[in-house]
Symmetry: C2
Subunit: 378 residues, 2 copies
């Protein structure tokens, strides 16, 4: 293997595939990045066996030469050292050459590194995925759908299935749901599937978070293929594989209340900041719980009381406040997470009493929904 | 106590005095910030008993009203909560009022906090310091002198005196020296003392680092008063007290070689980056040690070899290279720290053999010096 490559492209690709490399793997070769030089360019692969990322650097792009291949071949290099090295190379062009015994020379300007490589034949093969039933989503929409749901997955392994986001594709609509059993985030979008396929899969939240970091904020289409135990995301020059979680995702549809007793329309930012302030004293004393009380004249009060430290209260005027009087306590963190995930300046909050879950939605947009269980405080 | 104050000024002052507040103190009242409202304005104090910081906010500045005092008085509020609260208050104006039992109301817009305060009478008094023998240094010079020495203090408590920077004022010259016994940093400057006073004090490195963060990068003069066991820095609206370290600082003058056998003049940035690259493979395998070898034609080679991982070497051309041939090994971190501390694009390195300390200086500037002990590698 011998090629020269533009450093910037190499740095970017290494950074992308590094997102799949774990230093805590039990399979030694997976601490490395696999590098393959072939006639079309250079392909890098990183994997922790749950997630695998492949990044392709073409020989030419927009008539600029990016890679020059002198000899095809492959090698696996320690990811930690290789990624640090490419970042700090002195010149714009990098030369890489595999000599005897997988020993690999990395040259740039007058700097020359000799890294002990590993046998590329030992690197596991990526899953083979039939790409027949792919559907496509613009990258920016995909990132939004991830951002608006993934924060609500469970971080506890008590019910492993809840550490993933449930993706259901039915009748040309993709519905993403995440819940940790204290709150639930739902986002849906109409998808151009091209076929009548339907899926029901649970993708690990961690995989989606990493995918989201790699994707650019463009409207370029990302191709998605879901198989029985794998999902593949294909973006420009990037293949992102993740295993799926085993098991059935709970039916969450009956959790979402259809009626409501108190309805509020309020400025999202004012609501968020008042809760943020009230939570300052609540953080440790009371498990981050704040209280909302309806007052007269469309006013609400956000308050918190920690006998050791002090108390805080703040009034905000809602744009609209209809229905029954209400005093309800909730986790400031959960409501703040939900408000940050929603877009728009005004939001609707629908309560069904102090002991029932309440729902937060952006006004005139039913494609997303945040549901939160209140906290009993008596 | 009752006053209104501009939030920005309060936030800045709280941030400054917070640098002295430790959450791990054994004296409960020192987890608080003392607030005193008096006829000239508001004074905040934070202290961990080693360092005390007093910040003064005047009632008026440049004809703008900053503070309005309605009732003089004082209170101590939990620093952690108070600092978070002031940062997140909604409006530009903050009202503070102490009610019964040290309970303190903080109001801004419609947000109202009630914090349980502590008795200000219990807050320790700051040291009384005679200000007769003060000397003055511009703030930016003081920050540079701290930056160029403090990184070299010892982090080990084996010899506590080495965790401080030795400040010696003699014949109108201030000399600052720090060493951890593997390297030494020295910076001197001519000071306008006004008197024939001389001092020899050791200031904790931690205190100087905190002081440096508080000072602005201006040429405003900072007044410095050194007593037997305290040092006081007086900047605009800020008093910064630190205890001094007990004991005699070792005589370091005989450590600095007066002759040399190999002399090199080299571009500081190129030298630093080559060492940085060579250290990438050296980090764990060999305790961050890299090797410098002189070559022909004013070239030097920086290299490192970690049998498990690989090796790296790089040639750089020096601007000047005179004297004996040399192979020397040193800690990459120590030399990089030293190079970052020095100013100027070209530096002189004077070696006295592979086993003797070597000295790095900025060209044509003897006000600063970095000395480093080599590492034996055979």
């Amino acid at each position: 293997m011998k090629f020269t490559i533009q450093r910037d492209h190499l740095v970017q690709s290494v950074q992308d595939v590094m997102k799949a490399v774990s230093s805590r793997t039990t399979i030694p070769i997976l601490t490395g990045i696999k590098i393959v030089a072939h006639s079309e360019g250079v392909t890098l692969t990183g994997s922790d066996s749950d997630v695998s990322i492949e990044s392709f650097i073409p020989t030419e792009e927009n008539e600029n030469v990016i890679v020059e291949i002198f000899q095809q071949g492959s090698i696996v290099l320690q990811a930690r050292f290789f990624s640090e090295i490419v970042k700090k190379l002195p010149m714009d062009i990098v030369e890489m050459e595999v000599a005897n015994n997988h020993s690999t020379v990395i040259r740039s300007g007058k700097a020359e590194f000799n890294l002990n490589g590993l046998d590329p034949e030992e690197y596991p093969h990526l899953p083979q995925i039939e790409e027949e039933n792919a559907f496509k989503i613009p990258a920016d929409l995909l990132k939004a759908m991830i951002r608006q749901t993934v924060f609500a997955v469970s971080t506890s392994e008590t019910r492993p299935i809840l550490t993933g986001v449930n993706w259901r594709l039915e009748n040309g609509e993709l519905i993403c749901i995440a819940t940790d059993s204290h709150r639930l985030a739902l986002r849906k979008a109409v998808i151009n599937t091209g076929s009548q396929s339907s899926y029901n899969a649970v993708i690990p939240g961690k995989s989606l978070s990493e995918l989201s970091k790699i994707l650019d904020d463009t409207s370029d289409l990302v191709e998605i293929v879901i198989t029985e135990n794998q999902v593949l995301f294909k973006a420009k020059h990037i293949l992102f594989f993740s295993r799926l979680l085993d098991g059935n995702y709970p039916d969450t549809s009956r959790l979402i209340p259809t009626d409501s007793k108190t309805n509020m329309t309020i400025n999202s930012r004012e609501f968020l900041q008042a809760i943020d302030r009230a939570s300052l004293l609540a953080k440790e004393a009371r498990n981050n719980v704040v209280k909302l009380s309806t007052l007269a004249d469309k006013n609400i009060e956000i308050s918190s009381n920690s006998p050791e430290i002090g108390k805080v209260s703040e009034e905000i005027q809602a744009a609209e406040l209809l229905g029954e009087e209400l005093k309800i306590s909730f986790s400031a963190k959960y409501v703040m997470d939900a408000l940050k995930a929603l877009e728009g300046t005004e939001i609707n909050v629908n309560f069904t009493g102090a002991m029932r879950p309440f729902v937060i939605r952006t006004i005139e947009d039913d494609s997303m929904l945040q549901l939160i269980l209140p906290v009993r405080t008596y």
